[in-house]
């Protein structure tokens, strides 16, 4: 899986050169609702709840505190 993902990441980096917008076309992308984490605590609480109820966690980034959740 690591090899495939690395390949996909490299292809994205290479292929991405053709994508994108000019600076004056960022009107929609600049909105709060279009940020990758539009609501800080919504994301935070969800991560915390599912971390304590499921065997999988992570993926969105590194860092953040652990807990001995029951």
């Amino acid at each position: 899986m690591i090899r495939i993902t690395t390949l996909v990441l490299l292809m994205m980096l290479a292929g991405c050169a053709g994508m994108g917008v000019e600076p004056w076309e960022r009107d929609l992308l600049a909105k709060d609702s279009m940020q990758l984490t539009p609501d800080y605590f919504e994301n935070f609480y969800d991560e915390h709840i599912y971390f304590s109820k499921e065997a999988s966690s992570g993926g969105q980034g590194v860092g953040g505190g652990g807990c001995g959740c029951n």
Binding site: M1, I2, T5, T6, V8, L9, M12, L13, C16, A17, M19, G20, V21, E22, P23, W24, E25, R26, D27, L28, L29, K31, S33, M34, Q35, L36, P38, D39, Y40, F41, E42, F44, Y45, D46, H48, I49, Y50, K53, E54, A55, S56, G58, G59, Q60, G61, V62, G63, G64, G65, G66, C67, G68, N70
Partner: protein, 438 residues
């Protein structure tokens, strides 16, 4: 040619505009962006309830640097499964984690330990250090402390923009050191739970584990309406990973699943040895995880679609798929956002309904398998969450929002005697949020 000329002039004009507004931007940057939030999380049937107020504040420092601070408090009450299963027609008695008292579960009821209560305080700080116009490092530190658990973490995330800032490469490294100091001491792995006040089997006062995560990711602006993200995370956990409060039932007959009882074998004759027919769980002390995370945000001029998918795999045998979909429906001055999340996981290789006398554990209490746990969180399971959020932007860049969600988790126990299945978990959450500039 003409188009190129116009494009060039537009670029110059845009840069000029950005430069002209920069003093304003840095003036605005001297203010704090504050999120305050409160979460209520409640499980049905008297299980866990959590009350979690939190505050997060961020502000610009100078032209390009930024600091973010977070404080979260967490009060937990209620009852949590102890690892044993319900048995029709048989009451079961267990010893509390302290080893000093006992509780009895009625026939047919899921064994829950209601001595569980906790208060947690978590602090976090992130500092974004700008390296140059296109790259930065975010330094992070976290501390979380509760009655029996302490987590300390540091992280560094490097981000670099390419391709006219349409592509961002992210490389993150996180390191956590956690220590657990269980009520009543660290139970000896695979040792039997003892009758109250006959001396708990403990191997020490505390244990530790370290968590290392490496993430490589790319975010890409696809067009004016779409941005996507792809992350690969490699995680490694080393050290104590048992749940010190979870036990596994010992049975002589897998067809009935009844706990071994009485004088045969004499090891589990609790009147003489004090040994109850339950042993403390044991998990591997190493865990390697691979996580692939994809996210796409798409703007529909008015509404916004937020889609995410995660594939998770680890060497405990757990594979999972997580799908998330949120649709932000724009109203006149506010918005509604229905949300749905689907999660599905396979069981850990060592997830066991019980340990069978003769094949898994001998008459002297020696466990013959390497690892075993009956923690429902390691079972094959599905979680479905349905939620609805209402947000109301207000004056001065502030926003009020409220979100409610219903969570249903169902466990597939496989072939187990009737009545011993893990019951579904139903929970609800309510989040109230107020964000403002200060």
């Amino acid at each position: 040619m003409q188009l190129k000329k116009i494009k060039g002039r537009m670029a110059v004009a845009t840069c000029a505009l950005l430069q002209a507004t920069s003093p304003m931007a840095s003036a605005a940057g001297s203010e704090w962006d504050v999120d305050t939030s409160f979460l209520y999380y409640g499980e049905a049937d008297g299980r866990v309830q959590a009350f979690e107020p939190a505050i997060h504040a961020g502000r610009a420092l100078g032209d390009d640097d930024r600091i973010e601070l977070r404080l979260v408090a967490d009060a937990l009450t209620g009852a949590t499964p102890n690892g044993a299963y319900a048995i029709d027609g048989v009451a079961q008695t267990f010893t509390t984690p302290s080893g000093n008292s006992s509780y009895t579960i009625a026939p047919g009821e899921q064994p829950l330990d209601d001595t569980f209560h906790d208060t947690r305080i978590a602090l976090g700080a992130d500092y974004t250090q700008s390296l140059d116009r296109m790259s930065r490092i975010i330094w992070g530190a976290n501390l979380s402390t509760e009655y029996d658990y302490l987590a300390l973490g540091v992280s560094a995330n490097y981000a670099r923009d390419f391709n006219n800032r349409n592509t961002t490469l992210n490389i993150g490294l996180g390191f956590n050191n956690d220590s657990v100091d269980p009520e009543g001491g660290v139970p000896t792995e695979f040792a039997p739970m003892k009758v109250a006040d006959t001396g708990k089997n403990v191997s020490g006062d505390s244990e530790t584990k370290t968590i290392t995560d490496l993430m490589i990711g790319v975010t890409q602006v696809v067009n004016r309406k779409t941005i996507v993200q792809l992350n690969l995370t490699l995680g490694s956990v080393s050290g104590y990973q048992n749940d010190p409060y979870k036990i596994v039932t010992v049975t002589a007959d897998p067809a009935t699943g009844l706990p071994v009882n009485g004088t045969d074998p004499s090891f589990f004759d609790s009147g003489v040895t004090g040994n109850l027919p339950y042993v403390y769980e044991k998990r591997p002390d190493s865990r390697q995880k691979n996580i692939l995370f994809f996210k796409a945000m798409h703007h529909l001029e008015e509404d916004v679609v937020d889609f995410s998918y995660r594939y998770y795999s680890d060497d405990w045998g757990i594979n999972s798929h997580t799908l998330g979909l949120k649709y932000r429906y724009q109203l006149a001055d506010s918005y509604l956002q229905p949300q749905v999340r689907y999660y599905s996981q396979s069981a850990a290789d060592f997830y066991r309904h019980n340990l069978v006398l003769g094949s898994d554990i001998d008459v002297s209490g020696n466990v013959l398998v390497d690892y075993a746990s009956h923690d429902y969180r390691l079972a094959e399971s599905e979680t479905i969450t349905l939620g609805l959020k209402y947000g109301m932007p207000m004056a001065n860049d502030s926003e009020f929002s409220v979100r409610a969600g219903l969570i249903t988790q169902s466990v597939n126990d496989g072939a187990v005697p009737a009545g011993q299945e893990t019951p579904d978990l139903d929970a609800m959450m309510l989040q109230v949020n107020y964000s403002f500039v200060w």
